[in-house]
Amino acid sequence: MMPSRTWLVVIAVVCALIGVRALTGNGMGRVYVKAAPVKVEVKADEAKGTLAQTVSWTQWNAVPAKAYLAAQAADPNQTEVQLSWARTIGLWLAAFLTLAIFSFMYRDNPAYRFAEAAIIGVSAAYWMTIGFWDTIVPKLLGSIATDFVRGNILPSLVEQSSVQVIAMWVALALGLMLLMRLSSKGAWISMWPLAFIIGVTAGLKIVSHVESDLLAQSVATFKPLAALERGADGAIAVAPTVWMSLRNVLIVVGVLCCLTYFFFSVEHKGLVGRSARVGVWYLMITFGAAFGFTVMGRVALLAARVEFLFDDWLWLIDPSGKRVLESVSVIVGCF
């Protein structure tokens, strides 16, 4: 299905604006880096038989475009500050992926599907790598094969106590038992580690929920309905007293009415019905507030992406003062 004429015009206008932006002023979408030489003195280690030496390398730090322009103006042949092709390609790739995801709002398309697949693939691979290097290697292998891991992978591995080593062997056994779920005949074996996981999780959560949500929240609900607020002179301050009392009354009434709504052992008629109705209103206001906060969160994320496109990629705005924007300086002067 071809896009309608109106939408073709909108897309063409956006593409034309990007083209104009690329050809005016200092251009757009480039990342510059500056060389920073690093030298580290490595001490001799008699135990390992290594000699003292100096290790040096060059670190390339990203710098604002204006630093490159200033360096070029001072010396056109300088190489200290230069364009980073790798980072520039990364920037353009980020802009392309952002626009590809946004393009779904028009309709499903290959660019969106590519970006979606890339995100899922990269996330899955990243989580797997993190799980392997942050959990399996240091915790499991580091405990059951400490010398091998310290000698070949993690020189700074901390020595584990014998209790921890035994615990890791048990964890390894439970982990292998869990994998038996893949076997049709031995699937029942995976029930044991599952039971262990459920038991431990339930034990941890019950205690913490009772402490933090049931007891502490119940205590927080016991509020004086007439809260006397006093000023600096010790006299009762009328306005704060009224507001604080009203706030406490609203909390107590809200808790009682919401609890009544979820109390199904009595038919919701008469006083119970009216309380439940008030409870519904409280719930609706809560859902509305949650929706409002969610919208706020999503708009903040959208704004961050739009800022990235306008600032880092298009060089349309410069809130951080990273560049010299001749093309927009006239507009700035208008405000």
């Binding site: 906060f293 903040a300 959208l302 951080s320």
Partner: protein
């Protein structure tokens, strides 16, 4: 509203009903992009008045004597950066300005990179006299979610045996006097979900019996879930980008006043800049909700008349 007016209302309602949703997306894009361009070019931001929750965060950090230990947990990833990075930046800014010792940890795998970026953006750039391992330290990520929190209650070094740089935690000079999490007078978490602020309240603050004071900066989605904990179990709270903007303005106002420098670095105004697009988007949402309701009632009125 009979006659010509009634016909006009009905036809307008029908246009709204058949409106292609992509026009709404375009309107939202303009509502968000417009203020970003305006604020980006002029540098003007909307004024912010701090609410008690944001003020409590500022006061909790300010009330600590200079040099106090502050445990900062970065429990988020770049996906929530639009909301949480401005909070993290300002929290570190205030702690560094007050001279507190900062202990960074992360319970999310991508947290350490965000910690490193924040250290680079705030501490190394504006507080170069602060030394790694003496004034601040990054312990990196530790897998285990609530289990890590439970271990920290009794043995911090056991939960984080190494620093992000690979050194032994116990050998860091800053760790003198730190055995467990209650040795930190203040715990700050910047939280995007699980594990995050809720788990810190459930497993650490509540278990300590009130010995640990905690403030949080959290995403908009988490904010309604965390409000019941304030001001009892949570001393202060920055809810979504609005909370971040309020706190940012408080920090900027007071730190600038103290230093006598009227100019505020743009990196410390990120949340305030994002309140412009918020205003545009929310106004559009209000208009759309009003128009949606108008179309609904106009259609209902029409169908009632048709039935009669």
């Amino acid at each position: 509203m009979d006659g010509v007016g009634g016909v006009a209302v009905s036809s307008f309602a029908r246009i709204l009903e058949g409106l292609d949703r992509r026009w709404i997306f375009l309107a939202m894009a303009i509502a968000v992009a417009g203020p970003i361009v305006y604020i980006g070019l002029t540098g003007k931001t909307l004024p912010e008045t701090a609410t008690p929750a944001a003020e409590a965060v500022y006061d909790a950090i300010e009330a600590l004597p200079s040099g106090s230990r502050v445990l900062m947990s970065f429990d988020f990833d770049p996906a929530s950066g639009g909301e949480l990075i401005p909070m993290a930046t300002s929290l570190v800014h205030q702690c560094a300005a007050r001279g507190h010792k900062m202990y960074f940890i992360a319970l999310w795998p991508l947290g350490p990179q965000l910690i490193e970026e924040t250290i680079k953006r705030v501490i190394r750039a504006d507080y170069p006299h602060l030394k790694d391992g003496v004034d601040y330290i990054n312990f990196g990520y530790q897998a285990g979610n609530e289990a890590v929190m439970k271990v920290m209650l009794t043995d911090f070094v056991k939960a984080f045996p190494k620093t992000a740089g690979g050194g032994a935690s116990g050998e860091v000079p800053m760790m003198n006097g730190v055995t467990r999490v209650s040795d930190f007078p203040l715990l700050i978490t910047v939280s995007a979900g699980y594990p995050g602020a809720k788990e810190w309240v459930q497993y650490v603050v509540s278990s300590s019996g009130g010995a640990i004071e905690m403030v949080t900066g959290c995403t908009g989605v988490q904010t309604p879930q965390l409000y019941p904990y304030f001001p009892g179990q949570l001393t202060g709270m920055l809810g979504a980008i609005k909370g971040a903007a309020e706190y940012e303005s408080l920090v900027n106002e007071n730190i600038s006043k103290a230093s006598g420098d009227a100019r505020v670095e743009p990196k410390y105004q990120e949340a305030q800049r994002r309140m412009g697009p918020q205003l545009g988007a929310h106004l559009l949402m209000v208009v759309l909700i009003a128009l949606g309701n108008f179309a609904y009632f106009a259609k209902r009125r029409e169908s009632v008349r048709g039935a009669a």
